[in-house]
C-alpha cells in the first residue's frame, strides 16, 4: 500500500484530484455567496449537481456528444502544450498554431475541390498539421539557433497568426459572396455518431484526438526519439554531452507541438461546429485552454485525455446553470481555481508525501 502511494504517477493523480476538489469546494462557496445576492438563484446545491454532472442531467446523451465535441480541440492543444512541457519548453503559442492550422484546413476543404470531397477532410487535417508545425518550427529555430526565448517568440507569433489569418480571409473571400460554408461532405465524418448522440456536431474527431494522445505517449515514453527529446528538455548540456543534437531536438519539439495545435484547429474549422474567421481579432481561446488542460493533466498525454474531458464537461455545464438561476461565469471561476490549484500541484504532492510518510511512520 505504501509503495503504491509513493509511486510518482499515483501521487500525480492524487494531486490532480485534490486540485479538482479544491476548485469544487471553492465553487460551492461562490454558489452560496451568489445565492444570497441573487433572489432567483436559490438552489446552490442544485447548481452544484448540474456542474458535477457536466450538465448532462438536462442534455443527456446529446450533451455527452457536445462534450466529446468540445473536448477534441482542447485535448490537442493540451497535448501540444504538454508535449512541449515534457521536453522542457513552454509552448504558449498554441493559439496561433491552432488558428493557422484551422485556416489551412478550411481553405483546403473549401477550395481544393479537385480532390474527391469525401477524402478532402484527410488532406485538410494533413495541411493543418503541416501549417501548425511550421509556425512551431519558427519558435523552435529561434530558440535553438539564436537562443530566443520560445515564450516571447510564440506570443508574438500568436498575434502574427491571428492577423495574417484575418487578412487572408478578406483577401481570398469573394467580394459579392464573402461567406462560404464548408460542404458537409468534406467535413470530418460523423460515422453515424451524430445520429447516436442526436447532435449533428458530434463526429469522429474525439477518436482522432485520443489516438494522437496515445501516439504521443508512446513517442515520449517508449522510443529513443522521445528519450532524446526529453533529455534535451531536462538538461540541454547533458544531451549535447551524450552526442544528441540538442538544436535539432529543440526545433523538432516545437514543431511537433505546433503540429498538434494545428491539428486541433482542423478539428474545429472543418467540422459542423459553427465558427467563422472574419472577426478573428481575438486570440483563439482553445490555445490557452490547452495550457490549463496540460497543467491539470500534469503534462502526461494520458492524463491530458482525462483533464480535457473534465474541462469540456465543465464548459458544457456552464449554460445549463441558468436553469438554477446562476451565471455561466461560476464555472469559469471554478475552472480558474482548479487550474491555479493544479499549477501548485508540486506543493500538493509534497504535502501528500509528508502525509503518507508520517502516517506510515506512526504505524
Amino acid at each position: 500500500m505504501k509503495k503504491f502511494l509513493m509511486n510518482a504517477g499515483v501521487q500525480k493523480i492524487f494531486a490532480a484530484l485534490l486540485a479538482i476538489l479544491f476548485g469544487l469546494v471553492f465553487g460551492i462557496v461562490i454558489l452560496f455567496i451568489a445565492s444570497f445576492f441573487i433572489s432567483k438563484a436559490s438552489y446552490p446545491m442544485d447548481a452544484l449537481y448540474t456542474i458535477v454532472t457536466g450538465g448532462l442531467r438536462f442534455s443527456g446523451l446529446k450533451g455527452l456528444g457536445i462534450i466529446m465535441r468540445f473536448m477534441s480541440p482542447i485535448l490537442l492543444t493540451g497535448l501540444s502544450v504538454g508535449f512541449a512541457f515534457k521536453t522542457g519548453l513552454f509552448n504558449i503559442g498554441a493559439s496561433g498554431q491552432f488558428v493557422i492550422g484551422g485556416f489551412v484546413a478550411a481553405y483546403i476543404c473549401i477550395k481544393w475541390t479537385f480532390i474527391p470531397l469525401e477524402y478532402l477532410w484527410i488532406v485538410g487535417i494533413l495541411g493543418a498539421i503541416i501549417a501548425g508545425g511550421l509556425v512551431g518550427l519558427i519558435s523552435g529555430l529561434l530558440k535553438a539557433y539564436r537562443n530566443v526565448n520560445e515564450v516571447i517568440s510564440a506570443i508574438m507569433l500568436n498575434y502574427i497568426a491571428m492577423i495574417t489569418v484575418s487578412n487572408l480571409v478578406s483577401v481570398i473571400a469573394d467580394k459579392n459572396n464573402p461567406s462560404r460554408t464548408m460542404p458537409p461532405l468534406s467535413r470530418i465524418p460523423t460515422l453515424g455518431l451524430d445520429k447516436i448522440f442526436g447532435n449533428n456536431t458530434t463526429d469522429i474527431s474525439i477518436f482522432i484526438a485520443i489516438l494522437v494522445a496515445i501516439l504521443i505517449y508512446i513517442i515520449l515514453e517508449r522510443t529513443t526519439f522521445g528519450y532524446e527529446l526529453k533529455a534535451c528538455g531536462y538538461n540541454r548540456n547533458a544531451a549535447r554531452y551524450a552526442g544528441i543534437n540538442d538544436r535539432l531536438g529543440i526545433t523538432l519539439s516545437m514543431t511537433i507541438a505546433g503540429a498538434l495545435a494545428g491539428l486541433g484547429g482542423a478539428m474545429v474549422y472543418i467540422s459542423s461546429i459553427t465558427k467563422v474567421f472574419d472577426s478573428l481579432l481575438t486570440l483563439a481561446p482553445e490555445g490557452f485552454d490547452g495550457i490549463s488542460v496540460a497543467l491539470l493533466g500534469m503534462s502526461n498525454p494520458l492524463g491530458i485525455i482525462f483533464s480535457a474531458a473534465f474541462i469540456a464537461a465543465l464548459k458544457n455545464a456552464g449554460p445549463a446553470l441558468s436553469r438554477s438561476g446562476f451565471n455561466e461565469e461560476v464555472v469559469k471561476i471554478m475552472t480558474a481555481v482548479i487550474i491555479y490549484a493544479s499549477a501548485f500541484s508540486l506543493i500538493f504532492r509534497e504535502k501528500l508525501v509528508q502525509f503518507f510518510t508520517k502516517k506510515g511512520a506512526k504505524k
Partner: protein, 508 residues
C-alpha cells in the same frame, strides 16, 4: 563543562532515507570542531538543521545552554550562527561592501548610509587580515576573495558561531593555507567554528576536535591530536582505507592521441583561453593536466571531447583528425569523458538511474529496436552496473538521480563511461567533492584502466591527486603548457611554482 552548541538527539528523515539518526553533538566555545564524513553521511543535513533550513523530526538544539527554536536562517542569525555555504551566496554585480551589508543595511531618511558600514568593514578586514577591497565587484575578484567576503558577512553581523561547509573545495593550495590562517585568527578572537570537510589533512592542520558521521549516525567525537589520519578514515568509511595510491610504474605503449597546436577561443573574452597546445597521449599511461582552476583546462577538454569548436589546431586520434567530428563520433570511437560538472553535463538529473546509465548507448541495438527502447534490457543492465560499481540509491535502478548523493552520482557516470570500454578515458576532476572511500575507488579504477592498456587523460586541480595518480604531468598556465614533469622527480612545492606561473619552460 559549558558547551556553546548542543544538538540533542537530532533525527531528520527524508523519503526513503534517514539522513540524521539520533545525533547528539556538543561543541565547546572557542574550538574548531570538524565534522567528518562521507558524502551522504548527513553532515550537511545536520548543519542545515542547525542553520534553520530543515526542521528535524526529533531532537532539540541548545545554544549557550538555552534551548533554541531555529525555524529559519534569520533565527539562526539571531543566535549568532553564520554559515559559509559551499556555493557562495553573493550578488555578482554588487561590490564587496554592498554584499556585506545586504540585509542589514543602515538606512537614514530612506536612503542608504554607507560610510559607517565601510568603516566597520575595513576595520574587520584589518583585524582578521582579510585584505578586502570594499569597492571591488564580486565578479572581478577571485574565488578565494569571494570566500573572504562570505566570512566578512558573518563577522559584520557579529556572528560568533561560524559554520564552514566544505570551504576548501574551490580553493588553490595557497588559498587553503591562507584560509587556515584566517580560521585560527577567528578562534583567537573568541569565535567558534564548525568545519564540514572530508579532507583529513585539513582536519589535522586546524581542528581541535572532530565528530565523525557515517550513514546518518554519529560514530564518535575525538580529539584530533590523539588520532591519526588512518584511524579517522577508518571511522569515516567503516573499513581500512588505503590513503596511498598503490601502483606499478607505467609501461607506455603507442601514441593514441596527438594534439597539435590546439587553440580555443574563450567564451568570456575575445582572447584565446587555450593557446597553441601540443601533446601526445599514450596507451598504458595516465597523463595529467595540472593547473589552477580557470587556466584553460576546461576549454581544452571541451575541444577534445567536441563540446566546443576549436579555433585552431588538430586532434589526431587513431589516425583521424577529430577537429570537425561530432561528439557522437568521438564516443563511438571509444573516447569516454567523465565531465568536470556532473550536474551540468554528466547526468540528466530528472531521469532515473537506469535511463542515465544508457545516455551514451541508448541508440545501440542492445537497448533499442526500430526506435523503441527495450526497457527490460535497460533495467537489467542498470542492475548489473549497480552491482558491479556498488552504486547506492534509495530505490535502485528507478531512483531519480537528482536524489542520489554526489559520490554515487559520480559512480554512475564512471560506470556508464567505462561500460563503453574506452580506449581513451578523459577524466576531469573525477574526485571533486568525493569522500575518501569513493576517491580510493576512482583512483583504483583509473589505474586499472591504465594497466589494461587504455590511455587516461586526467585533469585535476588537486595537488595530491596529481602527484599520486599520474605517470606524467603537463602543467597548464593561462592557456599554455608551461612544463612537463615526472611526478616521481618533483616536489609539490616545485609543481606549485609551475602552476602559479612563476616557473616555465618550453614543452616539446
Amino acid at each position: 563543562m559549558e558547551y556553546v552548541i548542543e544538538l540533542r538527539n537530532i533525527t531528520k528523515v527524508f523519503p526513503g532515507i534517514i539522513a540524521n539518526d539520533d545525533i547528539t553533538l556538543k561543541v565547546k566555545k572557542g574550538e574548531i570542531h570538524a565534522l567528518l564524513g562521507e558524502n551522504g553521511a548527513g553532515k550537511s543535513t545536520l548543519m542545515s538543521v542547525l542553520f534553520g533550513l530543515y526542521k528535524p523530526e526529533k531532537g532539540s538544539i541548545f545554544i549557550k545552554g538555552e534551548e533554541a527554536h531555529i525555524a529559519n536562517p534569520n533565527d539562526a542569525n539571531r543566535y549568532g550562527i553564520g554559515m559559509v555555504h559551499q556555493h557562495f551566496k553573493l550578488v555578482h554585480n554588487f561590490t564587496v561592501l554592498e554584499n556585506v551589508i545586504l540585509g542589514v543595511e543602515t538606512v537614514k531618511n530612506g536612503t542608504l548610509v554607507m560610510a559607517e558600514a565601510r568603516k566597520r568593514v575595513l576595520e574587520l578586514s584589518k583585524r582578521y587580515n582579510l585584505f578586502i577591497e570594499p569597492d571591488h565587484l564580486i565578479s572581478d575578484i577571485s574565488v578565494g576573495m569571494q570566500q573572504r567576503v562570505e566570512i566578512l558577512k558573518m563577522l559584520y553581523k557579529n556572528n560568533d558561531i561560524l559554520i564552514f561547509d566544505e570551504p576548501t573545495a574551490v580553493l588553490t593550495p595557497q588559498e587553503i593555507d591562507e584560509l587556515m590562517k584566517i580560521m585560527k585568527e577567528l578562534i583567537s578572537e573568541g569565535k567558534t567554528i564548525l568545519f564540514i570537510t572530508h579532507k583529513l589533512n585539513e582536519i589535522k592542520a586546524v581542528a581541535d576536535r572532530v565528530s565523525i558521521l557515517r550513514k546518518g549516525k554519529l560514530i564518535d567525537t575525538v580529539d584530533v591530536s590523539s588520532s591519526t589520519k588512518e584511524s579517522l578514515s577508518e571511522m569515516m568509511v567503516g573499513r581500512k582505507v588505503l590513503l596511498e595510491v598503490n601502483k606499478t610504474p607505467a609501461e607506455p605503449k603507442e601514441v593514441i592521441m596527438e594534439v597539435s597546436h590546439l587553440s580555443m577561443k574563450s567564451k568570456h573574452h575575445g582572447k584565446d583561453s587555450v593557446n597553441d597546445v601540443s601533446f601526445k597521449v599514450r596507451r598504458g599511461e595516465i597523463l595529467c593536466i595540472a593547473g589552477i582552476e580557470g587556466n584553460g583546462q576546461t576549454d581544452l577538454v571541451y575541444g577534445i571531447t567536441g563540446l566546443q569548436k576549436l579555433s585552431g589546431g588538430k586532434i589526431l586520434y587513431k589516425g583521424v583528425d577529430l577537429a570537425t567530428k561530432s561528439i557522437r563520433y568521438r564516443s563511438l570511437s571509444k573516447i569516454s569523458h567523465i565531465p568536470e560538472d556532473r550536474h551540468k553535463h554528466g547526468l540528466v538529473l530528472d531521469y532515473n538511474l537506469a535511463e542515465n546509465l544508457i545516455l551514451q548507448t541508448y541508440f545501440t541495438d542492445k537497448f533499442q529496436k526500430h526506435g523503441f527502447l527495450k526497457f527490460k534490457e535497460i533495467y537489467d543492465h542498470a542492475d548489473k552496473m549497480i552491482q558491479r560499481f556498488d552504486i547506492r540509491s534509495g530505490s535502485g535502478s528507478r531512483s531519480v538521480t537528482r536524489s542520489m548523493s554526489g559520490g554515487n552520482q559520480q559512480k554512475a557516470i564512471l560506470a556508464r563511461e567505462l561500460d563503453i570500454n574506452p580506449d581513451l578515458l578523459i577524466a576531469v576532476q573525477p574526485t571533486r567533492g568525493l569522500d575518501v572511500g569513493a576517491i580510493e575507488y576512482i583512483h583504483k579504477t583509473l589505474i586499472e584502466q591504465r594497466d589494461a592498456g587504455k590511455a587516461v587523460l586526467l585533469v585535476s586541480l588537486e595537488l595530491s591527486e596529481v602527484m599520486s595518480v599520474s605517470d606524467r604531468i603537463l602543467v597548464i598556465y593561462e592557456g599554455e603548457l608551461v612544463g612537463e614533469v615526472d611526478p616521481s622527480k618533483i616536489t609539490q612545492q616545485e609543481l606549485g611554482l609551475y602552476m602559479s606561473g612563476s616557473k616555465r619552460e618550453k614543452v616539446e
